[in-house]
């Protein structure tokens, strides 16, 4: 099937969503996402960040769709034409969604462990020149202890449902969910300290904001002061492929490896995540790469740098090649020292 997104045409399999097609193309046309997670089934359509304008429905029915469509759950039709970053309507709607997500989101980024790797931060930053129009009090929740490893900050939650879908699909029994409705809906275990499944730690990784964070890493370090390394260990429960967040020789945090859309490549177990915080437990493969514009790159030596040598002075002394020929007083040959200098210059 052929689909055109922002003038780029691409051939995709039937059943591909517009978002997946956009990601295949890459670049500016990829809509932002808060709730969609490609590794989880039936996850998406809720945050409305990925709205796109469909200017041509399909080859068979070329009418444009009147409403903006969520690209993460809209399947590609043959001949579809989509406007993503080129549609002012879609951009305005995304901006509006960002504003909606932020009105009740606490601006406690300075003390939030997610800061630096937060999708909402990136989304808000992409908005440019944001001024709040919200003067009311923000909505808050009572703190709740959901388990020994995971810190729940309900105030920061954007209700993307990713953690709920993850618990449904990755663990045998889900013990947390959304209770209440509207803007007072909340993630809760209802019975406190209930989350103890061995794969529950992945909830932290899928959370796009700082609502679910790692208790063992809490206030240990800002993420950009850590050096991320790919590492693995022989784990009986999971693939054991992780990213270690190191400070000197200390492993401060262990997470799964995330791709450029901050989606986990392979889920890891709680044992790897929380119980192996020594460098000798791991086989370190090398530095982890991140996308260029991520704050995580600030302290990240992922590229091999050559030592820069400034040799202007030497070059000035040697002079240019054409100057090495005697053009005046050609009957008098170079003396020994001059010959050696020329020879040396030619060798280099």
């Amino acid at each position: 099937m052929k689909v055109t997104i922002d003038e780029h045409t691409i051939e995709v399999e039937p059943g591909t969503t517009v978002l997946q097609a956009a990601r295949m193309i890459g670049g500016d046309c990829v809509p932002p996402t808060m709730c969609y997670y490609s590794k989880l089934e039936d996850c998406g359509g809720k945050c409305r960040c990925c709205l796109v304008e469909i200017s041509k429905g399909s080859e068979r029915d070329p009418r444009p769709m009147p409403k903006l469509q969520p690209s993460c759950v809209t399947a590609v039709q043959d001949g579809m034409e989509v406007k993503s970053a080129t549609s002012p309507r879609a951009l305005e709607a995304r901006q509006a969604v960002t504003e909606f997500l932020l009105i009740n989101h606490p601006l406690d980024c300075p003390v939030c462990d997610q800061a630096g790797e937060c999708d909402l931060q990136n989304l808000a930053y992409g908005n440019k020149n944001f001024k709040t129009r919200y003067i009311e009090q923000k909505r808050t929740y009572e703190p709740e202890d959901i388990g020994p490893y995971i810190q729940l900050h309900m105030n920061r939650c954007v209700l993307c449902y990713r953690c709920v879908k993850l618990a449904d699909q990755l663990t045998p029994e889900r013990v947390h969910g959304v209770i209440g409705r509207g803007d007072h809906a909340q993630i809760s275990t209802y019975i406190s300290k209930a989350i103890d499944n061995n794969f529950s730690g992945n909830m932290i990784d899928v959370c796009p904001v700082g609502a679910l964070t790692d208790k063992t890493f809490r206030f240990e370090s800002r993420v950009w002061f850590n050096k991320p390394f790919n590492a693995h260990r022989d784990c009986p429960h999971c693939s054991g492929k992780v990213t270690l967040w190191m400070f000197g020789d200390h492993v401060q945090r262990v997470t799964a490896r995330k791709d450029e859309y901050h989606e986990v490549e392979e889920f890891i177990c709680n044992e790897c995540r929380f119980d192996h915080k020594k460098a000798e437990d791991w086989v370190i493969e090398g530095p982890r790469k991140f996308e260029k514009d991520s704050v995580l790159n600030v302290n990240n030596y992922t590229r091999q740098l050559k030592k820069v040598k400034i040799d202007t002075d030497d070059l000035v002394l040697e002079g240019r090649k054409q100057d090495q020929k005697k053009i005046s007083m050609s009957e008098f040959p170079f003396d020994q020292a001059e010959m050696e200098a020329i020879k040396k210059a030619n060798e280099e």
Binding site: M34, G44, G45, K46, C47, R48, C49, L51, P66, K67, L68, P70, V73, E92, A93, A96, V97, E99, F100, L101, I103, N104, R133, Y134, E136, R139, V158, L159, Y161, G177, V178, G180, R181, G182, D183, H184, A185
Partner: protein, 456 residues
């Protein structure tokens, strides 16, 4: 006297009971349908009748039925939507409370037409006493062989259950209703797939309003063409209107579509005019989610034609000067009513009822409510009016289900038609802090204050 279809026998004492209902021609539709008609014939009759869904959206019912996936061979279901929660609408309650067997009869015929063997009535949690009435009626229908195995010896089996929700407006949205019926959280699903393909337990399902289903037995008995002869254009048949507000005779009325709004409002047969001598200020024709209309657009459309009680005429003029028939919740306001307060009240409802699944509706409804509350209580700012306008525009059309639109439209219409009232609230906070501000001093009396401030 206009023709009555649903409320034809409502005056008969004891029509609630099975025996009385049966004696007065009840269940004859089931007999006719099961014994003499094929499912496809019934669908054709319903198509011919031109009846449109009475829940609010007005989608042609026969067309909806014809979409149901019969090829896959999966079991099919009919779900009757009795989650009537729109503020201002109370027609289904009246119908179920007073003539419950009409709904059950309609549900049997409709299930037969859809070849469904397991059907449900989903009723809202607040209608507990109606739930009990329906349970009793279903029991009576089982006892008399209208439900169960081998109905009337035709070999057709049908089980009908009534299921009580927990009290959520959002569960009136068909996919949220299905989720709730499955025992899950009532969040609307993302469409496609539509329920006609993958509904209840991922099986083809048709969800219809109580009033639509109740009309089916009459259509089967009298023919679709007869039904289509009532009404105007594409608005055929009769419609229940639940009228409330500042009128003499509030209540549920069955009207023939095509009646003028003027006649409905002012004739003694129906609403009997305004409650007292205070003038009419505004009305809402179809429940809280449709746009409110100011006095000049009530009886006449913008082109000067008579406004009729039809889907088309009420929507004439689009959202600029028109509204929608919606679910038939007819609310009338005189000049003592405050449009800002009314809009705030509606916004509060949508804020409370938003499911919280998608961001614009979850956050936007709460935001609008807070702003409207501030304006109404005398703490509004001049820029709040523009802000409200901007927020509603950003919710509308960007949500998963129509609740976002339903929350945005009343706010948009109130600002569009009654902007001066918002300005009055913002500029004269001390006056609106008196809760009876328009009762004491209607807009007519204070309008000159606004023009003065503009001149300064």
């Amino acid at each position: 006297m206009a023709r009555k279809i649903l409320l034809e026998n409502i005056h008969i004492p004891g029509i609630k009971e099975y025996e009385v209902y049966r004696k007065n021609g009840g269940y004859s539709g089931v007999e006719k349908a099961l014994k003499t008609m094929t499912p496809d014939q019934i669908v054709e009759e319903v198509k011919t009748s031109g009846i449109r869904g009475r829940g609010g959206a007005g989608f042609p019912m026969g067309l909806k039925w014809s979409f149901i996936d019969k090829k896959s061979g999966k079991p099919r279901h009919l779900v009757v939507n009795a989650d009537e929660s729109e503020p201002g609408t109370f027609k289904d309650r009246f119908l179920m409370e007073h003539i419950p067997h009409l709904l059950i009869e309609g549900a049997i015929i409709s299930s037969f037409a859809l070849e469904a063997h397991l059907s449900y009535i989903y009723i809202r949690g607040e209608y507990m006493w109606v739930f009990k009435i329906l349970e009793k009626a279903i029991k009576e229908a089982y006892a008399n062989g209208w439900l169960g195995k081998n109905i009337l010896g035709t070999g057709y089996d049908l089980d009908l259950y009534v299921h009580c929700g927990a009290g959520a407006y959002i569960c009136g949205e068909e996919t949220a209703l299905i989720e709730s019926l499955e025992g899950k959280r009532g969040n609307p699903r993302i469409k496609p797939p539509f329920p006609a393909v993958s509904g209840l337990w991922a099986e083809p399902t048709v969800v219809n309003n109580v009033e639509s289903i109740s009309a089916v037995s009459w259509i089967v008995n009298n023919g679709g063409a007869e039904y289509a002869s009532i009404g105007v254009g594409k608005s055929t048949g009769t419609k229940l209107i639940s009228a409330s507000g500042h009128i003499k005779n509030p209540g549920v009325y069955e009207i023939e579509l095509g009646l003028t709004v003027d006649e409905f409002m002012n004739s003694d047969e129906y609403l009997g005019g305004m409650i007292d001598d205070r003038p009419l200020k505004a009305f809402i024709p179809g429940g809280s989610s449709v746009p409110i209309l100011p006095a000049q657009y009530i009886f006449k459309t913008a082109n000067g034609e008579d406004r009729l009680m039809t889907y088309e005429s009420l929507a004439d003029g689009g959202f600029t000067t028109g509204s929608s028939l919606g679910s038939g919740g007819f609310i009338v306001y005189n000049d003592s009513a405050c449009v800002v307060r009314n809009t705030w009240n509606f916004s509060r409802f949508y804020h409370h009822e938003s499911c919280g699944q998608c961001s614009p509706c979850r956050e936007g409804t709460g935001w609008m409510e807070k702003i409207l509350h501030r304006i109404e209580t005398g703490y509004g700012r001049e820029e709040d009016i523009e802000l409200l306008w901007s927020i509603q525009g950003k919710i509308e059309g960007n949500t998963i289900c129509p609740l976002g639109d339903a929350a945005a439209w009343p706010v948009a219409a109130a600002i569009r038609h009654f902007r001066e009232e918002f300005e009055y609230h913002v500029r004269f906070p001390e006056k609106v802090k008196n809760i009876k501000h328009f009762v004491d001093e209607p807009m007519e009396k204070v309008r000159h204050l606004l023009t003065k401030t503009v001149q300064q």
